[in-house]
Structure formats: C-alpha cells, structure tokens
C-alpha cells in the first residue's frame, strides 16, 4: 500500500474484516446464509406445491341412474378428482371427511335424472373439507369447471345446444397470464428470496451486534477511536455482501431448476434488493441495540421479520384474502413490496412505471430503519 486510506475507511475495513473472520470461524453462519436459501428454494419449489389434483372424492349417489353415473364420470375423467368410494347415505359424508378418506363428497339427490328429463334445473351438492381452506378453494374452483362440463354435455344431449354456443346458460373461460401453467415454483421463488433475505439479514445482524454486548467486547470497542457510524457500517457490510450472494444464488438456482424467467430490468431488481436488505439490516441492528442479548435478539427477529415475511407478505397467502387487520399490518411488512417487485420484474417484465410505489416504500423503510437504529446505537454502556 503506497497511499494511506482515510482513517475512517481503515476502521470500517478493520471491523468488516473482523466480522468476516467471525463468519469464517463459525461456519454455521455461512451454512445458514448460503445453504438455507437453496434448501428452502428446493423445498418450496418441489415439495410445497399449491397445484392440486387427485382430490380424494367420495360420492353419495341417491339417484342411481345413467345420468347420475355420467355426472360422476365428468368429475373424475380429468384426474382432478379421484373417486375413493361410494357412500350409501349422504349423512356419512362428515365421518368420511373427518377420517381423511376424502376431502370432497358429491351428493346426487334422488330425482336428478327426472329433473334433467323435465328440463328443470337439477341440483347436486358438493361437500368440501375446508380445514385446509386453500385446498377447499381450489377444489371448489375445479368442481365449478366440472359442473360446466357436465352442463354442456347435458345441454348438448338434450338438443339445447343445436344452434351453437349461445344457448348455454353459463360459459366461463379463464385465461391465465404470466404463469400460464400456474406453477407454484415460479410464484414461490420471489417469496423464498424475500424470506431468506429477511431471515438472514435481521437474524445475523442482530446476533452479531448482540454478541458484542454479551461478550463485553463492545466495551473495548467503545474505548477505541472507532465512531458510532463506523461500527454500524463495518458490522452491516459483510451481511450486505452475503445478501447479494444470496439473491444471486436463489435467482440462478430458480432459473436453472425451475426455469424462472427474467423479463424485467436487472438494475431495478438490484436496487430493490439493496433497499430491502438495508431495511432488514437496520431492523436487525435496532433489535440488537434494544435487546443486547442473543437470545432475545433471536426471538425478536423471528417475530418481527421471519413470521411477517412469510405470512403477511403475500409469499404464501394472498394478501387480498386476509382479514382487514392483517391486511393493514401487511402494509408495514417490507417483504410485501419486495415480493411484489420481484414478481413484477421476473414474471411480468414490469419496470419503474409499475413498481415505483413499492420501490419508494422500500426506500422509506430502509432509511427509517437505518436512521432509527443508528440513532439508538449510543457509544455508551448505559
């Protein structure tokens, strides 16, 4: 080194290098930071699939006619429902569902064929096990489609459809954009990215700073010329770098394993990622400044970052379907905006025009968190 760096940079560099040494000495941090994202991606990409088929179906056919059997055939033909058995009596439906032998029961009442023959509206009942509301919702949607198929078939058979499609009482068509196959993996990768970043950034930072308090090294550190801001920056830099590696890792793996597209701008995604991470690092710092204790820091990180990023961000459950109070809370969960940006950039090719609000909110969160935590971080022991 021929020229001397400014003192401040030397000190920040010393702190960052020391933090990197800690990470190297305790590889668990590294595992958590690098392998966890990949494991979660594979787990969510392959294991946790929201695509439902082979819904176990039981049938209580009280009509016992050719028409009723044809209706059942419509339901099971596409393998979306799988016939698990027939019930002599619809009253058994609850018990069958409680025993997990079926999550849907189709009840065809007596007189179904007669009603059809008369040209009346024939009614059948579909009982759904809604203990898993997400599955129930999907089953219902599938059943609707099946009912339409059946209606069309019946109508065609009775000659109503002779003049073309006009006579059909109901004709719904869905047209899925951006993720035409409706694959969960594409939908989940952005969520996994946000979740993992939130986890690692908040947890690792809060632990790293709380450890200095707990071990007493903060006392020694405060007795040196190192400044408050230098400690903050030196502490956060290594974890910011780790976050960048994580984003790259998850995106690459997502593209490679699940064919995740990249339709938007790289710089927009990078900017959003850095803003999101700064907010999370600031949050981790704030936790550790208040807690000064690794145990409390861990729990506070779980509650304030990991849970909201998974549950209130739209990662797994659509925000529109949440109760009002949770929807309200989700507005202060930065993962919500980051996931929206990731989905927008990756799947829809959105740009700044569509995503500027989310980007702005991420920026505000980052500035507030870093400012508040730095202000609370005093160079005093008590």
């Amino acid at each position: 080194m021929s020229r001397r760096l400014p003192d401040s940079l030397v000190r920040v560099g010393a702190l960052a290098a020391k933090e990197a040494l800690h990470i190297r000495r305790d590889p668990r941090t590294l595992y958590l930071g690098l392998f966890l994202p990949l494991i979660m991606l594979l787990l969510f990409g392959f294991g946790v699939s929201f695509d439902i088929d082979h819904i176990p179906l039981a049938v209580a056919d009280q009509d016992r006619t050719a028409e009723s059997r044809a209706l059942l055939q419509d339901f099971v033909a596409a393998h979306e429902f799988e016939l698990k058995g027939a019930l002599p009596d619809p009253d058994r439906a609850t018990r069958i569902m409680a025993a997990h032998r079926a999550t849907a029961v189709l009840v065809i009442p007596p007189g179904y064929a007669e009603a059809l023959a008369r040209g009346d509206t024939a009614t059948v009942a579909l009982l759904l096990d809604a203990s898993d509301p997400h599955s129930a919702q999907q089953s219902l949607a599938r059943a609707d489609v099946m009912a339409q198929v059946a209606t069309a078939r019946v109508a065609a058979a009775s000659g109503l459809l002779a003049g073309g499609g006009d006579g059909l009482p109901l004709s719904a068509r869905t047209w899925t954009r951006f993720n035409p196959a409706g694959r969960s993996a594409l939908y989940l990768v952005p969520g996994v990215t946000a979740y993992v970043l939130a986890l690692v950034a908040v947890l690792l930072t809060s632990l790293a700073v709380a450890r200095e308090w707990e071990r007493g090294s903060m006392e020694q550190l405060f007795a040196t010329p190192v400044g408050r801001l230098e400690i903050v920056v030196g502490k956060l830099l290594p974890y910011l770098a780790m976050g960048v590696v994580q984003v790259l890792l998850v995106m690459t793996a997502g593209a490679w394993v699940f064919g995740l597209p990249f339709r938007g701008s790289l710089w927009l995604l990078s900017l959003a990622s850095v803003l999101f991470m700064l907010g999370m690092l600031g949050q981790g710092l704030l936790i550790s400044v208040i807690a000064r204790n690794q145990m409390v820091a861990t729990q506070a990180s779980m509650l304030s970052a990991m849970l909201p990023s998974m549950l209130l961000s739209g990662f797994m459950f659509p925000i529109e379907n949440m109760p009002g109070i949770l929807q309200f809370i989700s507005h202060i969960v930065p993962a919500r905006y980051y996931i929206a940006i990731l989905r927008g950039v990756l799947l829809k090719g959105n740009g700044l025009a569509e995503l500027h609000t989310e980007l702005l909110l991420l920026g505000i969160f980052a500035v507030v968190m870093v400012a508040v935590s730095t202000a609370r971080f005093k160079r005093k022991l008590a």
Binding site: K18, D26, F222
Partner: protein, 313 residues
Amino acid sequence: MTAIPSPTSSEPDAAVQVRGLVRSFGAVRAVAGLDLALYPGEIYGLVGPDGAGKTTTIRTIAGLLDPDAGTVRVLGLAPDDPRVRESVGLMPQRYSLYGDLSVGENLRFFRRLFCLPRDVAEQRIARLLALTRLAPFIDRRADDLSGGMYKKLALACALLHQPRVLLLDEPTNGVDPVSRRELWTLLGEFVGQGMAVLVSTPTMDEAERCHRVGLLHAGRLIAEGEPSRLVRELDSPVFLVRGGDRDRVQAVVEQAPEVLAASPAGARLKVVLQPGGTDRLAERLAPHGATLVPTRPDFEDLFLARLAAGGTA
C-alpha cells in the same frame, strides 16, 4: 496522532481530573461524589471491595458512562472526545477481546482500529509479544488462552497505541501469582516512560505496589495517599491474639465494640482496634487466657480499619 492540547492551568500536569463525580444505576448510587487526580508517571490504585464503585469510576473516565453530576477531564478534554480515545488505553474487567480470533488477529484488529502505521505497529506488536511471552501463542485463539495469558493479551491490546493514560479494571483478577508479578513488572516499565496508570483492585497486596492509592467505599474515597504513609499514619492499634481457645477468643472479639476488624493471621487472630481500646479488649480476653501482642500493621489492616470507620461515619 492528533495533538492533545495542554492540560488546564489549574492542574498543570494532571492526566485525569475527576471532581464531584456522581453516578447512579436506578436506585443504586454506584459513585457518590468522588474526587480524584491522576498524574503522568504514577500508578494510582483504586482499592475497594466489590460494589464500591471501582468499575463505574473507570468506565466514566473512559467515556463509556456519562456522569450524573460532577466533571471528568482526561488530558484536559471531555472523556468521550475522539481525540482523548487515541491517547487512552482501557483494559476492562470482563473478557472483552474476541475469543474466536487468535492472539495475532486481536492485536492486528486493534492496530487497524487505531490506524497505526503498519511498520511501527508491527515492531510494537513484536515487542509486546516478547514482553508478555505470548509470541509462541500468536496463532492460538484468545478463548484457548489461560487466564493469565488472556490478561496479558488484553494488556498488550490496550498498550498497542502507546496511550498516555492507561485504565486497568482489576487486571489481575483470576491470574496466577507468577503472571500477576509479570503484569506488574510490565506496568512498571511503561510508567517509567511517563504513562499515567489507574488500576482498580480488591486485593491489598497489589495496592502496596501503587505509588498512591485511594480507598473506595460506597462510591466515596475514604482515604488517599502513599500506601506506606497511610499505614504509618494509621492510629488504630493492631494486635495478634495469643493463647486461649480459638473459638472462645473469636466469640469475644466479634462482640467487642472496640474491635474494628478481625482477620485470621496463620493460626491466630489479628485485630484492629479503635484508638484507646486496647485495655478494654485485654480485660475481656484475660479470663480466657489470651493476651494481645503488638504487631506491625499492613495495608490490609489499614483498609479494614478505614472501612469500619467509613461504614459507621
């Protein structure tokens, strides 16, 4: 290194000047009106039992705590002035280095925090490692060092930037006698070069190694001066109790109001008495066949006497 302005005119050469220091934690008054001056080239021993306020005093001087009342000046400046930190070394009582970093990594970390030029600092590191005989352990993690070696490393880290003021909070706590002597020898060497050293200790034998001591009790100085002079000026007579049944003697001594302090001395009991209390205790002990033999007071007797007097005052 940044220039330090000349000290204030009233105390021409005080490196540390503390006036009327008060600091409480909740309802506990850790320091209750402390005055103290520390001069270059001296070792000042802050002596007192646990909870007397030693650590709070040192942390306040190091700028790690703000006083509730009173003033602290270090080299004429406020203790949390960034210029002061370049000239102050602190060795906290608690383990405060990085246990997962090696001896060398800890030293180099502090070298960079103080922005010391590499060539100068590496020479100093080599010298400190030689003085502390830590050189063979340069790659050992701090957590794997013995208590004595750890303290020597902490001292080396605190000395690396050649501070003008060195604050040591119970530096020999948990250190074996050999390492303890080495630490003191090391200190003596640096003090000879004009360093001002403030050292806190609960043990009396260490206090006798200081140029001056201050006896701290309940956040207040109850005596101050050269250890030998303080002992000389002790007006409380000190005796060994000879003869008699040990348990009975002890019972009598514990109940006698003129006894300020009693401590075991070998198989016997050593007592510090109120001035003029000698005859009364002798009368009490006579029925038990025990007599009082005068003995030379040491620093511990002084401390116990002052503590007893300070506690009642």
